[in-house]
Amino acid sequence: MIPVSWYLVLTLFLFAIGAFGFIARRNVIIMLMCIEIMLNAVNVTLVALGRGLAHTTAHVLVFFIIAVAAAEAAIGLALVVLLFKKTREIHMDEFRTLKG
């Protein structure tokens, strides 16, 4: 069996990729995808840890995270659609009404 620590390393890499992408990219859709990558990195950790510890708690938490992520995506995409309709733009840099 693959040891849990390997999964943890994988997770940290995935999480870092997501976090870096979120900071480096300005396209809102890509930023949303990066958040999903981060959340799924956490899911992988939890599943690995849950299996390592032979618990169900972690698996339950994973289901909750997936459900909440779906709700989050619904709100995020709704906002993107509204913004796009208004400005024809989905790059965060272009929204400069609020400043100071």
Binding site: I35, M38, L39, V42, A58, V60, L79, G100
Partner: protein, 477 residues
């Protein structure tokens, strides 16, 4: 264990809120008199408050506990709901957002906060946090015909979700270390296994600090807050400047003071620089603002910096001081936002601070009210703001953070300038333009309630601080 239905008494207040909110969101289409929703919200808030004091016990397999600590925070949240329900109707009607969903979303957000305050399990903490955050993202974007509302909502949403991912990773590490998500069990496991020097525990504490710093807007994780505060409808800004912040502190108390008590030195080390940075950055940036909502956003960043001192102190007295601070902050901040709401007309935002010029000549009472709220935010006795600051500073001082308290006092000297500048504009400059005030019975009642709170607790804070201390007994040693 599951053969009989468990008792749900502990979640009766939350159940009431969710049921009323869902009904309001559904029947909105058939009810033309929107005042019904305002009244329903006010009555539900008061009923839920009564229930909070009446219900006790735990439920969901001890994941949720209606304990004293939660009672104090729930009082704050329901007070905020009550005050915002009074402030909102006139303003929302003017902007065409006075519908059932507005009040329903407020109630969902409050439910999420209440779950955060009473949770004994990290899973429930996450769910409460998300219920609160998702509702508030939608509330910020409610004015979607205006670009700035959407932009504020988008920024808040992106950074809020980003922070949630950090929170989850922190929880995953803590779970991996201890094998449980129960907060008390985590504390015990960390002490028993002597993990206080563990690298993963440090990483988990750091991730928690980042996640909560985003939620309560500590510098350098505050970037979303001025934009979201300015873009949001003012009624929502009033709500989110107090409610989610207080909920964030409630969760911080549970996580840092209980679950991560073994890593106290580590998270204190991380929070102290954040607190200093927050107090100074908030104070300095507020000086250059000319939009009053943005100014109050930076002021609320500074205030989060003061409130975090109580958590840093890490004692019972410190937590009680933070709780008292948040309670008093609800009165003064929502009061100040009520005055901003008063200024709004159909074609006039009333958000520039120069709109307040000479207000004492044209509307002396409104100017006096704003003066009291601003003095309270500055921390001038005999207002509530002074009492709040005094107790947090004293708690931090008694816990041995002398340098931090000196810096906090310096920061509050800088922070006084922006408030006093508005006071100066109101009282020492002649009026430049005609300003109309849109007063209605609701907001009048709300303003009276807020100003009474600010003045009453400014001279007689005894009962509240005793109540806060009593609520922390049994929560902290």
């Amino acid at each position: 264990m599951w053969s009989s239905l468990p008792s749900f008494v502990a979640v009766y207040p939350e159940t009431l809120l969710v049921v009323v909110a869902s009904v309001m969101a559904l029947v909105d289409r058939w009810i033309t008199r929107k005042a019904v929703f305002t009244w329903a919200t006010i009555v539900t808030a008061l009923l839920a408050l009564a229930l909070v004091f009446l219900t006790q016990g735990t439920t969901f397999g001890h994941a949720y506990a209606a304990d004293q600590y939660g009672v104090f925070f729930k009082t704050i949240f329901l007070l905020v709901l009550f005050l915002v329900a009074l402030l909102a109707p006139g303003y929302n009607q003017l902007l065409g957002i006075n519908f059932g969903e507005f009040y329903a979303l407020l109630m969902y957000a409050v439910t999420g906060m209440m779950l955060m305050a009473s949770t004994r399990d990290l899973i429930l903490l996450y769910l409460g946090l998300e219920l609160m955050s998702l509702s508030v993202y939608v509330l910020v974007g409610l004015l979607y015909a205006e670009l700035r509302s959407l932009e504020g909502a988008m920024k808040y949403f992106l950074l809020g979700s980003f922070a949630s991912a950090f929170l989850l990773l922190a929880m995953a590490f803590l779970y991996g270390l201890t094998g449980t998500t129960n907060i008390e069990a985590i504390a015990k496991a960390l002490l028993a296994a002597n993990l206080s020097a563990n690298k993963a525990l440090f990483l988990s504490a750091a991730l928690f600090v980042v996640a909560f710093a985003f939620k309560v807007a500590l510098v350098p994780f505050h970037m979303w807050s001025p934009d979201a505060y300015e873009g949001a409808p003012t009624s929502v800004t009033a709500f989110m400047s107090v409610g989610p912040k207080a909920a964030g502190f409630a969760a911080m108390g549970r996580v840092f003071l209980i679950a991560l008590a073994a890593a106290k030195t580590e998270w204190t080390q991380l929070l102290v620089p954040l607190a200093v940075l927050t107090m100074f950055t908030g104070a300095v940036l507020a000086v250059v603002q000319t939009n009053i909502k943005r100014l109050l956003a930076y002021s609320s960043i500074t205030h989060a910096g003061y409130a975090v001192l109580g958590i840093i102190a890490g004692t019972k007295e410190g937590m009680a001081a933070t709780m008292l601070y948040l309670f008093l902050y609800a009165f003064m901040n929502i009061g100040a936002f009520s005055v901003i709401v008063l200024m709004r007309r159909r074609n006039f935002l009333g958000e520039n601070i120069f709109d307040y010029q000479g207000l004492s000549k044209t509307h002396p009472t409104v100017a006096l009210l704003l003066l009291i709220f601003l003095f309270s935010l500055t921390g001038i006795p005999p207002t509530a703001g002074f009492i709040g600051k005094f107790f947090v500073f004293r708690a931090a001082f008694e816990a041995g953070h002398t340098a931090l308290v000196i810096l906090a006092v310096l920061a509050s000297a800088i922070a006084a300038y922006p408030y006093l500048r508005i006071v100066m504009l109101m009282y020492m400059k002649p009026p430049e333009k005609e300003v109309e005030i849109s007063l209605n019975p609701y907001i009048f009642a709300g303003l009276m309630f807020a100003v009474t709170g600010v003045l009453l607790f400014g001279v007689y804070p005894g009962p509240v601080i005793d109540f806060a201390r009593a609520c922390c007994t049994g929560f902290l040693p």
